[in-house]
């Protein structure tokens, strides 16, 4: 599958059927919940149990917001796709939702927000989907307005899938230009699937507080994710030998025999397939005639 960013603009790509996946696919829900949990952890809010006012940029169906609500925070969610926001309404997201384009700036008063998270959204800014789009201007508008609306010392944690190094560099450059301090935290850097990059940005000059937390699994620690071993492995498997000898099909002169056939039919029955009944004809050899 090509990257969604290369297929269509976000407001088109996240149509009803794509948005529906975010309510029905338990795998997607689980991954989103895990990432937002980690993002909240990286946000490093003071551990005093006081609810904060947070931003969720690219909130989509409100899955990440749900994590924020579970921790008692109030949040404002931005998204550009009406279909995704409809799903969020269906899921009864507790935060306030705004239909807006982050590349046009957030339009918030200065210094009022205690933190911001964004799950897999910021990389969309690097693509020009309309003739009026200029990625650099949009990145500048986004980071500028984000910097302005955050309170001093507040953090923004942006999880993103950059297509290549140039892209992540470009995003980083514009974040720094806006005045942010911080850098990239990479979880599970050695795994191609579980690898997640988080841009952790702090408002204000660098200090002890702005030092970056460590990514998970950097020192060979093993990833405990169960979904590591599920069906999509084929994407990451390399081919070592091009001319691997074909497995020879062993042909037994006598065939497999009645017992084997009965065993197979029983297996199929247990799986719920329609299997003809066992009779005296089952697995009987045909007469040798023309």
């Amino acid at each position: 599958m090509p990257r969604p960013e290369l297929q269509a603009p976000p407001e088109i790509f996240y149509n009803e059927s794509e948005a529906r996946k975010y309510t029905t696919s338990s795998r997607m829900i689980e991954i989103q919940a895990k990432i937002s949990e980690r993002a909240l952890e990286l946000l490093a809010l003071p551990n005093d149990g006081i609810p904060r006012l947070l931003l969720d940029i690219g909130c989509g169906s409100g899955l990440s917001g749900e994590t924020l609500s579970e921790h008692g925070h109030h949040w404002i969610g931005y998204d550009i796709s009406q279909s995704m926001l409809d799903v969020a309404l269906e899921r009864e997201a507790e935060g306030d939702l705004l239909l807006a384009d982050m590349g046009q700036g957030l339009g918030l008063r200065p210094g009022v927000i205690d933190g911001a998270i964004s799950i897999s959204a910021v990389q969309w800014l690097c693509y020009a989907d309309k003739s009026s789009h200029e990625p650099r201007m949009r990145l500048k508008a986004f980071f500028g307005s984000l910097y302005r609306c955050l309170a001093r010392g507040a953090r923004a944690v942006l999880q993103l899938y950059a297509e290549n190094m140039d892209q992540s560099e470009m995003i980083m450059t514009y974040a720094m230009r806006a005045g942010f301090a911080g850098g990239v935290v990479v979880d599970w850097p050695h795994s191609s699937k579980a690898r997640k990059a988080y841009l952790v940005l702090t408002c204000g000059p660098p200090s002890v507080q702005t030092s970056l937390p460590k990514g998970k699994g950097e020192n060979g620690e093993l990833c405990s994710d169960d979904d590591e071993s599920d069906g999509e492995e084929s994407q990451t498997v390399g081919i070592f030998e091009r001319n691997r000898p074909r497995k020879k099909f062993r042909v037994n002169k006598k065939g497999k025999g009645r017992e084997w056939v009965l065993k197979k039919k029983e297996q199929m029955r247990r799986k719920g397939h329609a299997v003809p009944p066992d009779t005296k004809y089952t697995a009987r050899k045909r007469k040798a005639h023309f």
């Binding site: 609810p51 705004l98 508008a141």
Partner: protein, 123 residues
């Protein structure tokens, strides 16, 4: 959309100098019960533009809910906290519009979601 969000939001149109506060045209207002957290209210109070909040509550049909002036000392009173909480977090605008104070541009609100998308010439 709650008044909390309204209080943070300003008009984002290019060339607008003072886009705050947005006017509210409320057609349908609903109230949803939310748990009161005194710490959150105390934390958020200094960031709230009081005048805009009072105007917002008036636009939502609750002109007497909030006092015209407020300062941090009033946060000790339970009655004030409850009113503040109700205005800030429990009143939702479901249908209506937000209006830019300078240009008069309307941002429609559908199903509680304001459409803040700008046209190309407004960016």
């Amino acid at each position: 959309m709650r008044l909390l969000t309204h209080n943070m939001l300003s008009s984002n149109i290019r060339g607008v100098v003072n886009g705050f506060p947005l006017g509210i045209e409320a057609e349908k207002v609903v109230e949803r019960e939310v748990e009161l957290s005194a710490e959150f209210l105390r934390g958020v109070f200094p960031k709230i533009e009081w005048g805009a909040l009072v105007a917002g509550a008036r636009a939502l049909g609750h002109p007497d809910l909030l006092p015209g002036e407020a300062d941090a000392s009033m946060l000790a009173s339970d009655d004030f906290l409850r009113r503040f909480h109700r205005a800030l977090l429990q009143l939702h605008v479901e249908e209506g519009a937000l209006v830019c104070p300078e240009t008069g541009r309307r941002f429609p609100i559908n199903k509680g979601i304001p459409n803040m998308l700008l046209h190309e010439d407004e960016v």
